[in-house]
Point group: C2
Chain length 291, copies 2
């Protein structure tokens, strides 16, 4: 890879900026750090805006690095190489892959998450593990979801670990952060979604619930589940059937099971008489007008 500017020391402004994004990114920072071959390639393929791509000199002569650098050239993205000691300072990963990029956070709003109709939105409340949050974004995308809301003060959905977990899905699927879960739920309901809370008790099993209309699925965090005030806001409660003795699932695996049950239901025609997973509260609004 000839003729690329070399970053030789850690005092370089780009090194500073990337370190800050990888270690202490603030939630309102428009920039994001992308770490790893697959993710940087996905970003280029999705025409996401990238401000810089940095390779370690250790990998810069590999054919895949040269190919990725040419794709950057085609997209007018500046390419740098960094000495291994500098690259290790840049990459937040314990096992640096050899390529990072600085990109821009996609600018989505809550309303974007619920389209196209019928919306299928996953609301992750106070999810602390960024890997879980990224896995939720990826499985929501795979199953045909329309968006993901990271609600509360949990992991940053645009932090490097969450982005690495989400892979290219973060450039396709609207993902927004809403600090107050109640505000997110109220906003989605105004948008016309039924709000279904994943819960272990007093809940409709997922295969008996109707997941075909516009719905928001609210999921709690890894330790505590859903806060009671959030569960109370829901139109209905949804349970994943489990073998006796198991009382909860990892939040990303729970999202996966519900997402694929929704996908299965949405692929088949409506069945009259199916139990509605939560239209009850708004039953009167379902009545067709008299004229």
């Amino acid at each position: 890879m000839p003729d690329r500017p070399v970053i030789r020391n850690r005092q370089h402004a780009l090194v500073d900026r990337l370190r800050q994004l990888g270690r202490k990114r603030t939630a309102d920072d428009p920039a994001v750090l992308l770490d790893g071959w697959h993710l940087v390639a996905d970003a280029l393929a999705a025409a996401a805006r990238l401000d810089a791509v940095v390779f370690s000199t250790e990998v810069a002569e590999r054919p895949e690095a040269c190919a990725l650098a040419r794709a950057c050239d085609a997209a007018a993205v500046p390419v740098f190489v960094a000495r291994p000691s500098v690259f290790e300072a840049i990459s937040p990963s314990a096992a640096p892959s050899g390529v990072v990029a600085m990109g821009r956070r996609p600018e989505w709003t809550l309303a974007h998450t619920a389209v196209p109709v019928p919306g299928l939105v996953f609301v992750a409340v106070e999810v602390q593990d960024p890997g879980n949050l990224g896995a939720i974004v990826r499985v929501a995308d795979a199953a045909g979801g329309t968006g993901v809301v990271a609600a509360g003060s949990g992991a940053d959905p645009f932090g490097w670990k969450a982005l690495r977990g989400a892979m290219g899905s973060v450039f396709r699927l609207p993902v927004v952060r809403v600090p107050r879960p109640g505000v997110a739920i109220a906003g989605l309901r105004v948008t016309g979604l039924r709000v279904l809370a994943a819960a272990a008790r007093d809940a409709v099993p997922i295969e008996e619930a109707d997941l075909r209309g516009p719905v928001a699925i609210v999921l709690g965090n890894e330790g505590a589940g859903l806060p009671p005030e959030v569960a109370a806001e829901a139109d209905a409660r949804l349970a994943i059937p489990m073998r006796p003795g198991v009382d909860s699932l990892n939040v990303a695996t729970a999202a996966a099971v519900i997402a694929y049950e929704a996908r299965r239901q949405r692929k088949r025609p409506a069945e009259p008489g199916r139990r509605s997973g939560g239209a009850d509260r708004h039953a009167t609004t379902m009545t067709p007008p008299a004229d």
Copy 2:
């Protein structure tokens, strides 16, 4: 919590042992470290063998600590309290919960994973993230799986992070580690299981595959997927349908989707003419004897 021995310094032999289990447990160590309220309570409820439970003095007067200590007394498990500075040295967690236990690894073999018949075994090949491995154990248990094999040189299924991800499932569901994936697959096939490899290409969609008989589902790691030589060992390949553009899922979410599809199929009666997900290779062994 009166009358419990207090550990006042880091030179205590139990501190040494617990630190070693939390930071550099060797794969053949019969002891394990359990970190967190839920997991220790699950272990007691499952009558798992515990050698010691240690509370931080910061939490020792809480009602839940006193209740857990009484449960330890009933099971003849020694209870200690440790000064906060000592407890922080013991707990491998960045945010110590206040309780850890030293327990014994359950002694299972590969054959245990495939019973009761029809076995449903998840083989996680070279899975690096212990949280993912634990989540696979938990969702396999929840969906009615019979066991999990951690194959290759990935994360330790009995390390503290994997145990915390698996929760009480690790005391119910047989989990074994097999260093060579090919040996695990051959062993499961001898036990009578069809071996289905999760793959993106040339694969039968999960809803068209027959997951009702004894099957082993082989899953690859987070970055590389299944090694080709492992995929070639399989009787058939299994695909999770995904929206175009998405080419893979996080390994724990993939396990969740397949586990719940298997659960759904196993709850309904057999349908003649359904595509078999891999009986072909062993078709002749399926013929009933002539007499």
